[in-house]
Amino acid sequence: MATEPSQALVKVEDLYRFYGSRCAVNKLGFELHRGEILGLLGPNGAGKTSTLQMLSGNLAPSAGRILIGGVDLLDEPLAAKAALGYLPEQPPLYPDLSVDEYLLYAAALHRLPRPKRRAAVDAARERCGLKDVGRRIIGNLSKGYQQRVGVAQAIIHMPAVVILDEPTVGLDPIQIREIRELIRELGRQHGVILSTHILPEVQAVCSRVQIMHKGRLLFADSLAGLTKRLDVTSLVLECRELPGVKELRALPGVASVDKLDSRRARLRLEPGADSAEAIATLAVKEKWGLRGLTPEHKSLEQVFVELTTADDTEVAA
């Protein structure tokens, strides 16, 4: 399988899903390759969960094709699902069972032969940091541990594709870091698709990003491509003796100036201008008493808002 890199693990073509007359997923198409962590980003109600539910066979698409490892999910659901691990938003747990009982059941459902189940459960527990809680009742575990049990369930049969729906929702910062570490590790051996509406999460773990809005794909690129959109757009200059607005306006590459207070001003730069160095040199030469010069990146939030409020003409392929 791994020897043929051209073979996509997941291939989605022209996927549609309607709820009544409302279109939740609109002509979605993308691919996932081994070793990739694909982040599906979008506000609530963008169609992320519907997309993941369709990918995992929990929801029938209205139209379109889903190929998992080259197998059509709709034509041969059993073969396709064998290569899938899915953690929905709400982990599908049985609170009355112990972690071991639950994972053994999950292994049985994924048709692992009986003699291999024990080893699979041990391996999944090891990878998800559940070594010491095998005999604990799931209902008594903390939310973070329950989430890990959910992840363990999704990877117990070593699927080629792991689908995680908002895996860090409701966790505390330490647990979030641990789950992200786990996702990064999964990304080395499996193809991972995860959905989130938390932008830094995508920056933290994903290698590729897709932004969805109202069921449509607005943006699809590598993480580097997304970072490029986050160019420096303004500088905050802080001086003991701030010169007048007019003088600041005359600085190279400065498009406009906002005076923040008597010591600080925001200099909006012309697109593509890289004038921080020139401004710093000038500030020292003119003895303004330079205190600070801070580049301001366009935040991921801004890019996100830009994309989601942009005209339909900006729809990326």
């Binding site: 539910q53 995992s56 066979g57 929990n58 929801l59 029938a60 659901p77 059993l78 073969a79 699902k81 064998a82 899938l84 691990g85 899915y86 929905p88 709400q90 982990p91 599908p92 747990l93 049985y94 609170p95 009355d96 069972l97 059941y105 999950a106 049985a108 459902l109 994924h110 048709r111 369930q153």
Partner: protein
């Protein structure tokens, strides 16, 4: 294979909840009380026309069917609705498991539990074998009849449970359906025109011939059709749930 994993898990899950233990205890107490009154009335009239099997066992089995008609919906109600509500159904849907395997597994799990209940019921008349001769043929046909009847109850309950997320709604709906199918032959006595059809539809009518020791293919056919129809309906319902959800 997967079917049995699901069935076994379902049976184990039933015993993890206090409901199953509570139901077993209450039903057993009621059955025991019926049994003792039957034995008592037989002792008072040993020279009666009916033998001990007819008077004690058949009477017990006949009343047990009514008790279990009330009880089975309580056990079947959470089979699917609970899974849907807690979201754990996703585990089954995402795994390479057929819908038919899910339904059959759930059904067999519940039938395992009901089978245990029938064994506990059967143990009471069997205990009379210490002091008297029993008609084992009649006992066997009664047991078969009760199992088929419970199978029908369970399949209807399972279907109702696939329709809703609320276990209580599933319980009320299946109890209503079963009561209706029980009362329907009383209606038949009123109106002569449809009486045969209504008698045929009545779920309890087919049971009575088993108690008399008669195993009729019509009765077996009725129950098998009933069970099969509701299982197929349940499978279709699960399939379409993916379209709507």
């Amino acid at each position: 294979m997967t079917t049995f994993s699901i069935a076994w898990r379902e049976l184990r899950n039933l015993f993890l909840s206090p409901l199953a233990w509570c139901v077993l205890a209450v039903v057993q107490v009621i059955h025991a009380w019926i049994f003792l009154t039957r034995v008592d009335s037989f002792r008072g009239n040993p020279a009666g026309v009916e033998g001990v099997t007819d008077q004690v066992a058949a009477g017990l089995f006949s009343l047990a069917s009514i008790v279990l008609l009330m009880i089975v919906p309580l056990l079947s109600m959470r089979l699917m609705s609970e899974e849907r509500r807690s979201g754990s159904l996703t585990l089954l849907f995402s795994a390479p498991v057929r819908m038919s395997e899910i339904i059959l597994g759930k059904y067999l799990g519940l039938m395992g539990f009901l089978g245990l209940m029938v064994l506990m019921l059967l143990a009471m008349p069997l205990s009379l074998a210490v002091g008297t001769h029993l008609d084992y043929g009649k006992l066997a046909s009664s047991t078969l009849g009760l199992l088929l009847l419970l199978g029908a109850f369970a399949s209807a309950g399972l279907y109702m449970s696939t329709l809703t997320r609320q276990p209580a709604v599933a319980a009320v709906a299946s109890l209503g359906l079963l009561l209706f199918l029980w009362f329907i032959n009383w209606l038949g006595q009123e109106s002569a025109r449809f009486s045969e059809v209504l008698h045929y539809l009545s779920i309890v009518d087919h049971y009575s011939s088993f108690l008399r020791g008669g195993i009729d293919s019509v009765d077996i056919g009725y129950y098998l059709l009933f069970i099969g129809s509701f299982l197929i309906l349940s499978i279709r319902r699960l399939d379409s749930a993916r379209l709507q959800a």
